[in-house]
Symmetry: C2
Subunit: 284 residues, 2 copies
Amino acid sequence: MEISRVAILGPGLLGGSLALELAAAGWCDLRLWGRRREALDLADEMGVSGLLTTDMDAACAGADLVVMATPVGAMPALAKALAGLATPPQCVTDMGSVKGVLLATTRPVFHAAGIPFVGSHPMCGSEQQGMTAARLGFFQGAACIVTPEPDDPPAMVRMVEAFWQVLGCRVVRMGAAAHDAAVARVSHLPHVVAAALAAAAVADDPGVLELAAGGFRDTTRVAGGSPGLWCEILMENRAAVLAALAGFEAAAAGFRAALAAGDAAALTTMLEAGRVARAHLPPA
Amino acid sequence: MEISRVAILGPGLLGGSLALELAAAGWCDLRLWGRRREALDLADEMGVSGLLTTDMDAACAGADLVVMATPVGAMPALAKALAGLATPPQCVTDMGSVKGVLLATTRPVFHAAGIPFVGSHPMCGSEQQGMTAARLGFFQGAACIVTPEPDDPPAMVRMVEAFWQVLGCRVVRMGAAAHDAAVARVSHLPHVVAAALAAAAVADDPGVLELAAGGFRDTTRVAGGSPGLWCEILMENRAAVLAALAGFEAAAAGFRAALAAGDAAALTTMLEAGRVARAHLPPA
């Protein structure tokens, strides 16, 4: 199936970056929907050409693909709105960080309306947010996890995967539960750790950060993200984040025990494990 | 006191970067000492002009300031060598990450020889190491902690502070114990946390890192550092690192409790504390 018309719902960091990318590439008829006119006007100023509208019907009418680019918590309501349109879209995907909860809250709405819904999660982000932070090249080289369910139409899954590939993503297919466990470890856990580290380092003496160098800045960078947004993500993926956090706390306790015992060999082994683990990162 | 001749002991990342900087600036007679000829030859190729030698006497004779740029563990032996020179230097400083241990192991050697020793710690680094990673601009804008003891000659303390200021550092003066506690929090703890996070995220499935984005890469970057070097640093600053780690573990446990209880308000408060803490970072 060809993709001729794409509608993006939500002109935030991800939706806005996607809109910039599609506008620049120019291979599809682009529609960008937002609840507030301000972000759409900003998108227009930033070079997003196409229909920028607060009218969901106008945005989604005849769309081959609708991309939900809002926080996960807003998706059930979006699904209901899409299901009620006079001309529903051919297929819907999303860019949400948690997939299990979407299976429970959002997929049934699409299912009942006969609209194929194939989950996606491009693994890129920033501690910044909103259309102001959107930029070209945001998706280039990122992994994009696509989470089809067994009864998703294969043609729709292929279309969604092709969409992300055209945007420069490496597509990785996995189930919703595997997705949630994996992103708990590589994205949600690092966020918790960075926030705990920043808070603990400062403790009762903010002046100590005058001494911090690039290491501290990088290690805690993601802690600069929106507390409200991240609270939602962590709550939506609670079980998997708790499991990942337990593994991390065990590793930290191992460091504490080795240090307390003055066991240099054990300490070196654990430091080496950390270094080796990073060797599995894809090239920057 | 004017600084005319500077000797750097150890052509690694810090010593090499300092040598590049002084060679480029050209305001002093520069000597670089190393145990092995290879690193000195590399320094020569990279543009370090001056006397590059394996002969410590030749390097340090008549030096106004000697900068020890080796790991802290090698400094007591360097101090003995410097104390035994026919023409001892006017003043010695260092670039070590831990100061309490130097008071115990190294300062007494200089004291006995009548050589003023004023501790320094420029807060810059990298997960890379060695002369190959040395570069110009390494010290620019970094905090440099200078840790004078009450009986250090004020003129020598001023000279050492002026030296770092000329190199572009923000000089911060504090005692050795305060230094060790502060760097435990902003440098040594982040290293432990990054290593534990990288190892825990991978656990038994290295493939998960194929999904990692910039957040994971940055949060764990320092874990790419040398395990041997970092084991030494953590062991040398054990007590302060253990105290910092205890504070961090309490913060992580707070996140776990809030998540387990589904307490979104507590979670948001802790995320906000992490974000606010980073606001105390100096401008990048």
